[in-house]
């Protein structure tokens, strides 16, 4: 009984108010599902943790939604929320980096692409971080690297289990090499964390690619992915351009990564907290055979 099958047995959530489903209504009340192309009632979607009740498609979750979803209500304490990016390269292309930052800030209400803090999972204290793809494609610059590193260090020092949900296009181009070095910085923090004997669970959400997959996100004890999430190093477009051929169907999906041995399991968002809690039960260093 692979865990996947076990979940398949679980009840599928039924749509809220199914009779209303196909009615045409103003924008903002319904949203078209990218999985089944059907309109989905937004309030119902919210209640269902943004998982399509018809086809299980996982709508994007913001970082705040993720930490709320994973932690017990009222237990999440955000840390370093006021850490904000600089513009070390004075980067200007079609758009200035500082303008991109302003737009992203307005759009997400965040200062950068990650939310970090502590909270409880079924009563157990953990260090938890979540990336926000809405903030410049969840890219990792100085602030993301710094906050992830601080979170790992906090987990190391306070001996807390570490849980990080990734969703990122990779390193943030606009901070140049400073961004690239965040890969080494966060990985180095994981190397130190590993010595603490505490567990690290990575959750990979759609999409996780580039410098995030190639650093802390792939270095966990247990790696979970959401169904259908795109996970890989190079982006599909880059690969297609390089090899000059179409990519096979299902390439770089969570399922692809599972069969190629890169992740431990695929877990539906509706079951995510439960499986994380069960895993933590196993991973707490209580010592052998009480």
């Amino acid at each position: 009984m692979p865990i996947g099958e076990w979940f398949n047995k679980q009840k599928k959530p039924t749509p809220n108010n199914p009779s209303l489903e196909k009615r045409a209504v103003p924008d903002g009340v319904w949203e078209k599902c990218k999985g089944c192309n059907e309109p989905v009632y937004i309030k119902g979607l919210e209640k269902n943790h943004k998982v399509c009740p018809k086809c299980d498609y996982h709508f994007p979750f913001s970082a705040q939604e993720r930490v709320n979803h994973l932690t017990d209500p009222g237990t999440f304490d955000e840390l370093w929320a006021d850490l904000s990016p600089e513009d070390p390269l004075h980067f200007v292309a079609d758009k200035a980096y500082i303008d991109s930052l302003d737009i992203a800030r307005d759009k997400t209400g965040l200062n950068d692409a990650v939310v970090c803090g502590t909270g409880q999972v079924n009563g157990r204290q953990v260090a938890v971080g979540a990336m926000d793809f809405g903030f410049i494609g969840g890219s990792m610059g100085s602030v993301v690297g710094e906050k992830i590193t601080r979170l790992i260090e906090l987990a190391t020092d306070d001996r807390l289990p570490l849980i990080i949900t990734s969703s990122s296009g990779g390193a943030r181009m606009q901070e140049g090499m400073i961004s690239l070095m965040q890969m080494a910085k966060t990985s180095a923090a994981v190397a130190r964390f590993n010595k603490s004997g505490m567990p690290y669970i990575a959750i990979l959400a759609n999409p996780t690619t580039g410098g995030v997959t190639a650093s802390f996100a792939s270095l966990a004890d247990i790696i979970i992915a959401e169904p259908n999430a795109l996970i890989g190093f190079a982006g599909p477009r880059v690969i297609e351009q390089t090899i000059r051929q179409k990519l096979p169907k299902g390439f770089q999906t969570a399922e692809f990564n599972l069969s190629h041995g890169m992740i431990d399991m695929i877990v539906n968002r509706l079951e995510m907290k439960q499986i994380v809690a069960r895993l933590l039960d196993y991973l707490e260093p209580k010592g052998v055979a009480q």
């Binding site: 370093w80 006021d82 850490l83 904000s84 990016p85 600089e86 513009d87 070390p88 390269l89 980067f91 292309a93 079609d94 100085s142 602030v143 710094e146 590193t149 390193a171 943030r172 181009m173 901070e175 140049g176 090499m177 400073i178 961004s179 690239l180 070095m181 965040q182 890969m183 080494a184 910085k185 990985s187 180095a188 994981v190 190397a191 130190r192 690619t209 580039g210 410098g211 997959t213 190639a214 650093s215 802390f216 996100a217 792939s218 270095l219 890989g232 190093f233 190079a234 880059v238 690969i239 390089t242 090899i243 990519l247 096979p248 390439f251 770089q252 692809f256 190629h260 041995g261 890169m262």
Partner: protein, 334 residues
């Protein structure tokens, strides 16, 4: 034979070709010829300085990729003695895009690892143009562990456009392989010295591209993304690589200012391939100097220092109440 030349080098090459022709000319008026040669040589010298002394970032990227530029194997041969190449990841394949092995730098025994490009098309196909697959990074990790076990300083040569973006590379876990190198390298309890000798492309370079000292050749580059990749995102197309090279801040100069790298080794006018022995000599001197400095540091302290160095890379500010804290460490310290 026609010499390879980038657009910006053409006028210079044309003059040089003319000079060659002139020298071969059998003329009655030897004095006139001699005068013309002298004149052309002056012109060439002036033009060479003008062409190469104020290179744009994009021109530097081009020199970094120059087909005649010395490769990792060339520097290993020139700088070290008694190289013994080691092969394989013990898992899947021996990746020819990364080479490594034991070598001696003066009297010091070290482990050397680097990206390896080919010298011609055939070699480049074999070496995959220096773009590793996961097995290359896993070979590198094996050599890191060997270096750690036998306490051999770890010296790397960075010269890749990036990790290979292909179907099989993704299937075999390119991201995981790179991540594991980063983790391993960060904690190696031996001195780690990096020499960026050509292209330092993205995560595929970084996997063996950070340490206690990072040295860059003058015309090498080190970048979060290739200029072409950046351009295709920013301006939706392959064009604009020159502008991208500008905004990415990928030159040695710039990275030294940012505190990302530690040392720049000068190249002859026109690039390292105009004087490989000279560049090798200077690079060797810097490697020896770094090794000597790092050799004095206790190994545990070395790992701590490497961590602090990484730890400080980042530009951000934090507003706590009224105070604003700035992290600009990479600009000031190191």
């Amino acid at each position: 034979m026609k010499r390879f030349a980038y657009d910006f080098e053409r006028p210079l090459v044309e003059l040089e070709t003319k000079l060659d022709e002139l020298k071969r000319l059998e003329s009655a008026d030897k004095q006139d010829i001699a005068f013309q040669i002298k004149y052309l040589e002056d012109q060439i010298q002036k033009l060479r300085v003008r062409t190469y002394s104020k290179l744009t970032p994009w021109q530097k990227v081009q020199l970094a990729r120059h087909p005649e530029r010395p490769r990792t194997a060339d520097y290993i041969e020139a700088i070290f003695t008694d190289f013994i190449e080691l092969h394989g990841d013990r898992i899947y394949r021996d990746d020819p895009a990364i080479i490594g092995g034991f070598a001696r730098l003066g009297d010091t025994r070290v482990m050397v690892v680097g990206h390896q490009k080919g010298r011609n098309t055939k070699e480049n196909v074999f070496r995959n143009f220096g773009m590793p697959h996961p097995e290359g990074y896993r070979k590198a990790r094996r050599l890191m562990r060997l270096a750690n076990k036998f306490k051999l300083p770890f010296i790397t040569f960075v010269d890749t456009q990036g990790a290979y973006p292909g179907i099989e590379a993704e299937e075999r876990g390119q991201a995981t392989a790179i991540a594991e190198d980063l983790l391993e390298l960060s904690a190696l309890a031996v001195p780690v010295i990096v020499a960026v000798i050509g292209e330092g492309g993205s995560g595929g370079a970084l996997a063996i591209g950070f340490g206690d000292r990072i040295i860059m050749l003058e015309n090498s580059y080190y970048s979060v993304i290739t200029p072409e990749g950046c351009a295709s995102i920013l301006w939706d197309g392959g064009d604009g690589a020159d502008r991208a090279a500008e905004v990415l801040g990928l030159t040695a100069d710039n990275l030294l200012k940012l505190g990302i790298i530690d040392i720049i080794v000068k190249e002859p006018l026109g690039g390292a391939h105009h004087g490989p022995a000279l560049v090798a000599r200077d690079l060797k001197r810097e490697l020896e100097k770094s090794l000597k400095e790092l050799g004095r540091v206790d190994l545990a302290e070395l790992v701590e220092k490497r961590y602090s160095k990484l730890r400080n890379v980042g530009f951000y500010h934090q507003e706590t109440g009224l105070a604003k804290t700035l992290n600009l460490n990479t600009l000031t310290s190191e």
